[in-house]
């Protein structure tokens, strides 16, 4: 089993850290993992993306031309990556950042209003964990238990008190994602 995933959005949305938590969760399940960020000035305000691969076998290339799953959090990223989803693959997008919905008919498109929900929860920081919850609902590649373990590994100890809030956000995301 191999999942080739791109997460793309604005810098500051938690794109890279969401990928990191996914990678750590894969590590907890003894999977092979690769986390390849776009790095540089684009992280500070521009677009940011990260390629995450979870696999049962050795991973060859950390750089990909097509993805099983694309998580798209703003319009420029949709324009860049919609065409890169493999036929039959999954595209998840946040309605807040996208004013022109994905057009492809040969992929499964899901919408998650994570930004609105995070605002309702009065917790902007929950945004990326809501999206992660949505992803895990559609493609349960790692167990919630291992995500929480992964969070513990990737967060510095002083932030461990935030883990229950993150769990809540993940559960919320699982609830609100919907297929188009």
């Amino acid at each position: 089993m191999k999942q080739e995933i791109i997460i793309a959005g604005f810098g500051g949305q938690g794109v890279l850290s969401m990928g990191k938590i996914l990678a750590y969760s894969g590590l907890m399940e003894n999977k092979e993992v690769s986390w390849m960020p776009s790095y540089g000035p684009e992280q500070r305000g521009g677009t940011a993306n990260v390629t995450v691969i979870l696999s049962d076998e050795r991973i060859s290339s950390p750089v990909l031309n097509a993805f099983d799953i694309a998580i798209i959090l703003n319009q420029p990223s949709l324009e860049k990556f919609e065409s890169k989803v493999k036929p039959g693959g999954i595209l998840i997008y946040d309605g807040y950042g996208i004013h022109q919905a994905p057009a492809r008919k040969d992929i499964q498109v899901y919408r998650i209003d994570a930004m609105d929900t995070a605002n309702e929860m009065k917790n902007g920081k929950a945004f990326n964990m809501i999206v992660l919850g949505g992803l895990l609902k559609i493609a349960p590649m790692v167990s919630l238990e291992n995500v929480l373990k992964g969070l513990k590994k990737s967060l510095p100890e002083r932030h461990h008190k935030l883990i229950p809030m993150n769990e809540q956000a993940i559960l919320k995301g699982m609830e609100i994602i919907k297929k188009l």
Binding site: Y24, Y39, S60, S61, P62, V63, L64, K153
Partner: protein, 359 residues
């Protein structure tokens, strides 16, 4: 103690490995995409545990000269930088090679020339394996293709450097430096004691003791006959390294009709190209040089009569391809494919290039 699998960036792996393999000192100056090396070392605070010194120098030139000084005392010392910073270090590297001192230099390459871009590149191949600094010297050059190799090559680099009293370089790029993968960190080995340095490195300047001649560390020799002698000694050593230290990896080469030659991150991308090609029935293999100098000339040459064509895939305008062509000496067609200035090709782009240039 069981091996713990960690998830970290290539740059972080280098820092952890340096502390664990008993390095005595790191001297550097920050530059993207390798700043995490010094940042991680500063976080690890090895001066409180192993006694390793970590110092941010005032410049790259200062850092390499601190390495020169540290190496002269027989210590295991290293520096790291990215392309423009490594250019600044070239004078020092030439002096260290000329003084026959061991040290480790890490170059996490970015696009050039000049300040260029911070995105990944392999355009410093020539600089690393053909000179860079002045004079007839060679740099043992290791090209890691995974985070695990970033960790493993620190100890290997130091070991080779000390074995031959020659600088060694880890030539990585922004992809391997920035990506996170699973890694098993090498076991701890203690730093050499002063006594061990005195017995293992009798050339080291540690303060003259009674009854022995003064040790002198220099690359200067104004007497041409003696300087030629020095050069002959260097060349003899380089021949020995070329005989004993070539390292490479073969993936799907045994039945290949066509061969990709690629190193570092590009070799990883090409592994996927091979998977895609084989799914289409195209038998393509990958030969990955692990040591860029000494270059795996003989093994590449041995494939010249077995395959229909070779392609050197690099993040540059065609550098390693020259060494591949020298190796096969016209017996088989050798093409080049590369993207420039920080653009990284995807696996399918490489496959398209192979179809266009070789099939």
């Amino acid at each position: 103690m069981t091996e713990e699998v960690k998830l970290m960036k290539g740059n972080e792996a280098i820092a952890h490995a340096a502390v664990r393999c008993g390095a005595d000192g790191y001297f550097g100056y920050p530059i993207t995409p390798q700043s995490e090396i010094m940042e991680t070392l500063m976080e690890l605070k090895p001066w409180e545990t192993t006694g390793m010194v970590v110092l941010q120098a005032e410049s790259e030139v200062a850092a390499i000269n601190m390495v020169y000084g540290g190496a002269g005392t027989g210590k295991a010392v290293m520096t790291s930088s990215s392309s423009p910073g490594v250019s600044l270090k070239q004078e020092g590297i030439s002096y260290i090679a000329g003084a026959e001192l061991p040290c480790l230099i890490v170059n996490v390459m970015r696009g050039g020339p000049g300040l260029g871009t911070i995105q990944p590149s392999q355009a410093d191949y020539f600089q690393a394996v053909k000179g860079g600094g002045h004079g007839d010297y060679r740099l043992i050059t290791l090209a890691p293709a995974s985070v695990q190799e970033m960790a493993d090559f620190v100890a290997l680099g130091f070991d080779l450097a000390f074995k031959y009293c020659n600088p060694a370089m880890i030539l990585a790029d922004g992809i391997i430096g920035q990506m996170m993968e699973k890694v098993v960190l090498p076991p701890f080995r203690p730093r050499r004691t002063e006594e061990e340095i005195r017995t293992q490195m009798p050339w080291a300047v540690q303060g003259k003791t009674a009854g022995r001649k003064r040790n002198v560390i220099t690359s200067l020799e104004l007497e041409p006959a003696k300087m030629e002698e020095n050069n002959i000694r260097f060349q003899t050593k380089y021949k020995e390294i070329e005989k004993a230290e070539v390292r490479y990896e073969e993936i799907g080469c045994e039945d290949a009709d066509y061969l990709i030659i690629a190193f570092g991150s590009m070799a990883r991308i090409c592994q996927k190209t091979i998977e895609m090609a084989r799914a289409e029935g195209l038998k393509i293999g990958l030969l990955r040089p692990i040591t860029l100098w000494p270059f795996p000339t003989d093994i590449i040459s041995s494939y010249a009569d077995k395959v229909k064509g070779m392609i050197s895939v690099e993040l540059n305008a065609g550098q390693m391809v020259e060494d591949v062509r020298l190796a096969v000496n016209g017996r088989v067609k050798v093409e080049h494919f590369g993207r420039l200035g920080g653009i990284v090709p995807t696996p399918d782009e490489v496959l398209d290039a192979i179809k266009q240039k070789l099939l």
